[in-house]
């Protein structure tokens, strides 16, 4: 079917492309080895920043991720927060509920009385102008001071309720679910200790 020349040509072309791709991979592996530690440091710093923001009473966090199998699957991490005197003052929970346009990555601060101390949205892909407004302080700060079992109200939120973003009920419900799950996770973990 194919003569010797053609087969030689096929391998020549194949090896040329192989050479190009192999050298590219080599260069990329090299650059990656240079930048990976810096990127990891950046990510850790960003995470640390977010945690400090949601748990203002803390000045540092322990490294150990306290989650276990009994915690809801959307919780990815729970870190214990310590104040200046090295006493436990609360927990920072990383949770990712599913919103309208995908997962909403959030950090929730919960104090020892199981009240919310802060909510930070790390990443979301909700509708700009509607669900995306969940990152604004006006919305997030509603959760501060509330405790387990927060519900969403369309308007005129009462005690353990928050006002939904108008025309963005799904996003509002998702964030609330995230916060509630975070509180539940802390209860579970605190109970284990």
């Amino acid at each position: 079917m194919l003569n010797k020349d053609q087969i030689k040509n096929i391998f020549k072309v194949g090896f040329t492309l192989c050479a190009i791709t192999a050298v590219s991979a080599l260069i990329l592996a090299f650059v990656n080895s240079l930048t990976a530690p810096v990127i990891a440091k950046n990510t850790a710093e960003k995470q640390q920043q977010a945690m400090l923001e949601v748990l203002p009473s803390a000045s540092g966090f322990s490294d150990e991720n306290l989650i276990n199998d009994s915690v809801d699957k959307i919780v990815t991490a729970v870190y214990e927060g310590n104040d200046e005197n090295k006493n436990v003052c609360g927990y920072a929970v990383m949770v990712s509920p599913n919103g309208y346009g995908g997962a909403i990555s959030m950090t929730v601060g919960v104090d020892l009385e199981l009240k919310v101390t802060g909510v930070d949205i790390i990443s979301q892909s909700e509708t700009p102008g509607l669900g995306a407004k969940c990152v604004e302080d006006d919305f997030k700060n509603q959760y501060i001071g509330k405790s387990k079992g927060i519900t969403v109200s369309k308007s005129g939120a009462k005690d353990n309720e928050i006002d939904a973003i108008s025309s963005a009920t799904i996003t509002s419900n998702a964030v609330t679910l995230g916060v509630n799950t975070a509180i539940d996770a802390v209860i579970l973990i605190k109970g284990d200790k």
């Binding site: 194919l2 053609q6 040509n9 096929i10 391998f11 020549k12 072309v13 194949g14 090896f15 040329t16 492309l17 192989c18 050479a19 190009i20 791709t21 192999a22 590219s24 991979a25 080599l26 990329l28 592996a29 090299f30 990656n32 080895s33 990976a36």
Partner: protein, 266 residues
Amino acid sequence: MNISDIVTAVVIVGATGLIFGCLLAFASIIFEIKSDERETKILDVLPGANCGACGYTGCSAYASAIVKENAPINACSVGRDAVAKKIGKIMGIKAEKVEPMTAKVMCGGDCSIAADKYEYEGIHDCLAASKLAGGPKECPNGCLGFGNCAIACPFDAISIENGVAVVNEEKCRACGICIKKCPKHIIKLVPKKNKYLVLCSNSEKGALTGKYCQAGCIGCKICEKVCLAGAIKVTDNLAHIDYDLCINCGECADKCPKKVIVKRDA
């Protein structure tokens, strides 16, 4: 990142490259269309801009046309003489041997001598005007003078003078774009060696033509009778010159009662 990670990356990506490279090479053999290798060589020397000024839909189409349809080898306006010479070498043609051509608008019916059948108030566009009962000119084959050809010409070789389009032969590179744009189809390619042209495209009976255009061919056949080379024939009430036979004697132009046959200012 340790050595084994790097090696894994290089091996996997390299292997992918190898597999796909071989696959592509294999596919190109299986799916190969037998093409004249001159076509590939010509495509290589063409500038690759795919601009269409040559009159073809792109460099590949032009290369194909040169090999298969004997298209003129000097039509590339981007590459000009340099490219024409290279193509000539590939095709075994001397670039100079190619007949220099020019486009000519075969209509002399300007505003002073051609009548209108209605007053046109609409878009100044030949195609649009031609849709309204063939255009404002009485003559069904007359130049409407709105300049679609002039706008289309990539070398600015066409201008509108007194209501008809006129081609500047020095600028014209015979790319053929104007010919495609004219809705009346009255622009033709003429070899530069022929000095005489019938500047009319009208095929209506002479009695009618004479009424609406003083520069229209009436099909009287005087030119046919006086032609020394038998190069001019009247068909469909219109004189046509066979450029291969014409010897440029000028008798037809002399004797034409309507002065439709003109001498080009070459």
